[in-house]
């Protein structure tokens, strides 16, 4: 079974004090070059994909309103547009921006991800996220959300719509038939006629079927409702085992057979002591030890390689790394972890496919609307 590696890009890194590290470039966060540089770095490490994190509102440590903290990064750019801006300047790595299903139009996102797939020649995906924060509802003038089950149900509908829209043009719909003057064969364009509690969408898409047919759909899941979404709607799930022993149980709770990657926050250095020092410095600036939904690894690239292989052997298809301080820990991944895994014969030494689905070993899907 092939081992897959992903990196999750979030600001200057996943540690809230990472922006104060010597290598960090907090004032570059709003420049295209910053993001292009990071994704190219990940591509030099032959990683399968990057996810670009996003939230609908601004970052906050409070559960239902913006905070007044001035000592952490606040402000961000739209993840989809970052991925689009990077697409023409990269050639093999998958680009998976975050979309907030709760507040966005599936019609817009379907064509946006299709277009990212065209701009990247088959390397697009989307990581779907639910928003339950009341302050994010207020940004668009909506009333406060229903239950968790309703929000996830809406996200499942959202994914169903974007998927149907991707298929709403058959691959050979454009005929350019000069004899009859017809540009398309309208029998190969399909209304999707989706109807659900939150929205109804008629279709077809305005964008033809993208190169991958179905770009990758992913979600992060911590428990059952989200596991259900991953299993029934996604190609890839990100999960957060606290230890290796959790992996079999988590896989068992996810229905179907999507790919599953384990998330881990990483602080890396030449020696374990140096890595501990780095994390300790960031923790002291934070005023406490870092708390994360995902497991935290502090140590050497070789130590991380052990963990990655252990998780892989325990049943995960891959690992999504969340660099503690991206300008330090991403190079540690690409120049330390990846060569180590290659030495062990556990990771690719060259890209073996041109599309994201190809890298992940997913077949080109049949169109649900095409006549058999």
């Amino acid at each position: 079974m092939t081992l897959h590696l992903a990196v999750a890009l979030e600001g200057t890194g996943w540690h809230p004090a990472s922006w104060r590290e010597p290598e960090a470039r907090p004032t570059a966060l709003f420049d295209a070059g910053y993001w292009t540089g990071l994704v190219r770095q990940a591509e030099r490490g032959l990683l399968d994909l990057v996810t670009v994190e996003d939230t609908f509102g601004i970052q906050s440590t409070r559960p239902s309103e913006p905070d007044e903290r001035t000592d952490q990064v606040r402000g961000r750019l739209d993840a989809l547009l970052i991925a689009a801006r990077v697409a023409p300047l990269t050639s093999h790595i998958g680009l998976v921006p975050t979309a907030i299903a709760t507040h966005t139009e599936p019609f817009h996102f379907s064509k946006a991800i299709a277009t990212l797939d065209y701009a990247s020649r088959g390397r697009a995906g989307v990581r779907v996220r639910v928003s339950a924060r009341p302050d994010e509802f207020a940004l668009v003038g909506r009333r406060v959300p229903g239950t968790r089950a309703e929000l996830f149900g809406e996200a499942a509908d959202w994914i169903e719509v974007i998927r149907r829209l991707w298929d709403s043009w058959e691959d050979d719909a454009e005929i350019r038939d000069a004899a009859t003057g017809r540009f398309v064969d309208r029998d190969k364009l399909h209304y999707i006629d989706f109807s659900g509690p939150q929205f109804s969408v008629r279709g077809p898409s305005i964008t033809p079927r993208p190169p991958q047919g179905q770009p990758l759909v992913a979600a992060l899941a911590h428990r059952e409702v989200a596991y259900e979404l991953v299993g029934s709607s996604c190609d890839l799930g990100f999960v957060t085992p606290a230890e290796t022993a959790d992996i079999a149980r988590i896989r068992g709770e996810i229905p179907g057979s999507p790919l599953v990657f384990g998330d881990v926050v990483v602080f890396l250095a030449e020696s374990a002591a140096e890595a501990e020092d780095r994390k300790g410095r960031m923790d002291s600036r934070l005023g406490r030890a870092l708390v994360s939904d995902a497991s935290i690894f502090v140590g050497t690239p070789a130590g991380l390689a052990d963990l990655v292989q252990e998780w892989h052997a325990a049943g995960l298809d891959g690992v999504r790394l969340r660099p503690g301080s991206v300008d330090h820990d991403l190079p540690q991944v690409t120049r330390g972890l990846v060569p180590e895994l290659q030495r062990r014969g556990a990771f690719r030494t060259a890209y073996e496919a041109d599309t994201l689905r190809g890298l992940l070993g997913l077949p080109l899907p049949a169109n649900r609307y095409a006549a058999v």
Binding site: W19, R20, A24, P26, T27, F30, D31, A32, T55, G57, I58, Q59, P66, T70, D71, Q72, R74, G75, R76, L77, D78, L81, A84, R85, A87, P88, H103, T104, E105, F107, H108, A112, A114, T115, L116, Y118, A119, D135, A138, L139, V140, G141, E174, R176, T180, G181, R182, F183, V184, R186, L189, F199, S200, V201, R202, G203, P204, I206, T207, P208
Partner: protein, 454 residues
């Protein structure tokens, strides 16, 4: 006094009834390489900006998907953000609808785009109201007539408030003291159509706000543009009509405390080039026949007649029956049918034209559906464009080539150097932002003084 400078924009020829897809040179209007080719030609020629239109539902006629024109287009924001990666100076203008989007989301996207393009974003604000397109969206789409411009105004004003919620000096990022920022972005917007509050997440972008473009020939559209847009698109083809429009719109600016140069007037312009004027005329005639195939002629006819004419002979005379008056049911959601205000009178004009010139149905359609604006040698076209601008019929043009993706190449290589020789068009970019290319003042940092107060 230095010569008045021409501003040039390039409209990507996608879904548009002037786009000729049957030409052997016609390539993909979806593949990114086509957009890149087109953008690179525009930037090589030092154009102000590239322009993308948008339509959010595949067009239909007689209840069937309209299959005769180029159809399908990529997502505007996504393709424009990708184009920012392959160009350095060219402005990037996207059409984004104010009905089927949220102000918060659109402001977030445009502010992000402006950062990611280092100050080259422009927004063509359009409003639709048809329930037909609304079937693709959460909101639906219907708006009563009197709410259409008010929603558009409230929408634009809301985005301005969001853009202006950051002033540009909030991010300190002092690693020593640990101060990242001084909190900003708070907003609360309560209008007839919107009730939004929270904190805007995107720091002020290089242009402050995207350049605002507005299409509109109606009185309301002109007023809307005069109150807050940076450029207006029009369709006026003749010098006299252009001058009248120009004087009218520029005359409206003072009442909003704006100067004449604060709003650029950019008519759409089609063109056909040839080695001689006669050759260009012959090419233009050929292109018109490509643009209006026999099947297309019948579809145009149906849009005015508002009835099924699929059995009508395109090479025969116009129908003897009259158009169906009333709500247009044959081509729902099509902007073009709204031009037909009095269908019977228009039909009679067409009949008179057919009789006077002995024209078939198809030939009538070719006559009445916009011939090319500028036809001739590169020298002749450079002269005409410059004359138009120097005579205050416009501040420049949005060029609409008819072939994807190479339709701009010849113009860029032959006409632009002649405009440069005349001293009427830049030979190098002098600024880095689109606002600078267009000679616009920096965007205000406080909402309320401008657009939103009207």
């Amino acid at each position: 006094m230095p010569r008045k400078q021409i501003h040039l924009a390039a409209h990507f020829p996608g879904v548009n009834n002037t786009t000729v897809w049957s030409d052997p040179a016609s390539g993909s209007h979806i593949d990114f390489s086509s957009f890149q080719h087109f953008a690179e030609a525009a930037e090589r020629a030092k154009f102000d900006f590239l322009f993308l239109a948008e339509g959010l539902r595949l067009r239909e006629q007689n209840g069937l998907i309209y299959d005769l024109d180029v159809m399908g287009r990529p997502d505007t924001f996504t393709v424009v953000a990708a184009l920012a990666a392959v160009t350095d100076r060219l402005g990037l203008a996207g059409t984004i609808n104010s009905t089927f989007n949220e102000p918060y989301e659109v402001a977030r996207q445009f502010a992000s785009l402006d950062h990611l393009s280092a100050g080259r974003a422009a927004w063509n604000v359009v409003t639709s109201w048809d329930a037909f397109t609304g079937e693709n969206f959460r909101r639906g789409g219907f708006l009563p007539q009197e709410k259409r411009y008010s929603r558009a105004k409230e929408f634009l004003a809301a985005t301005f408030e969001l853009f202006d919620s950051w002033q540009g000096d909030e991010i300190v990022a002092d690693k020593e003291t640990g101060e990242f920022w001084r909190p900003a972005g708070d907003f609360a917007i309560r209008t007839d159509q919107f009730d939004l509050s929270g904190r805007f997440p995107v720091p002020r972008s290089p242009q402050g706000r995207p350049v605002i473009l507005q299409a509109g020939d109606s009185d309301e559209g002109r007023e809307f543009a005069a109150s807050g847009a940076d450029a207006i698109f029009t369709r006026h083809g003749t010098l006299e009509a252009g001058q009248a429009f120009y004087a009218d719109v520029k005359g409206r600016l003072a009442s909003y405390g704006r100067d004449p140069e604060d709003l650029k007037i950019l008519p759409a312009a089609t063109f056909v080039l040839g080695d001689t004027d006669a050759e260009a005329q012959e090419k233009a005639r050929h292109i018109r026949y490509q643009q209006v195939s026999p099947a297309t002629a019948i579809k145009f006819l149906e849009q005015l007649w508002n009835r099924d004419l699929s059995d009508h002979d395109p090479d025969g005379p116009l129908p003897t029956v009259d158009p169906v008056v009333g709500e247009n049911t044959i081509a729902r959601g099509r902007a073009s049918v709204r031009m037909h205000r009095d269908p019977i009178a228009t039909a009679n004009e067409w009949r008179a034209l057919a009789e006077a010139k002995h024209l078939s149905t198809r030939e009538v359609i070719i006559e009445v559906t916009g011939r090319q604006n500028f036809i001739g040698t590169p020298g002749r076209i450079a002269e005409l464009l410059d004359e138009f601008v120097q005579a205050d019929a416009s501040d420049g043009f949005v060029l609409v080539p008819h072939v994807t993706p190479g339709g701009l190449d010849e113009f860029a290589d032959t006409v632009v150097p002649l405009l440069q020789e005349r001293g009427a068009f830049r030979t190098e970019y002098t600024g880095s932002t689109l606002r600078e290319h267009l000679g616009l003042k920096p965007a205000p940092t406080t909402s309320g003084k401008d657009f939103s107060s009207h």
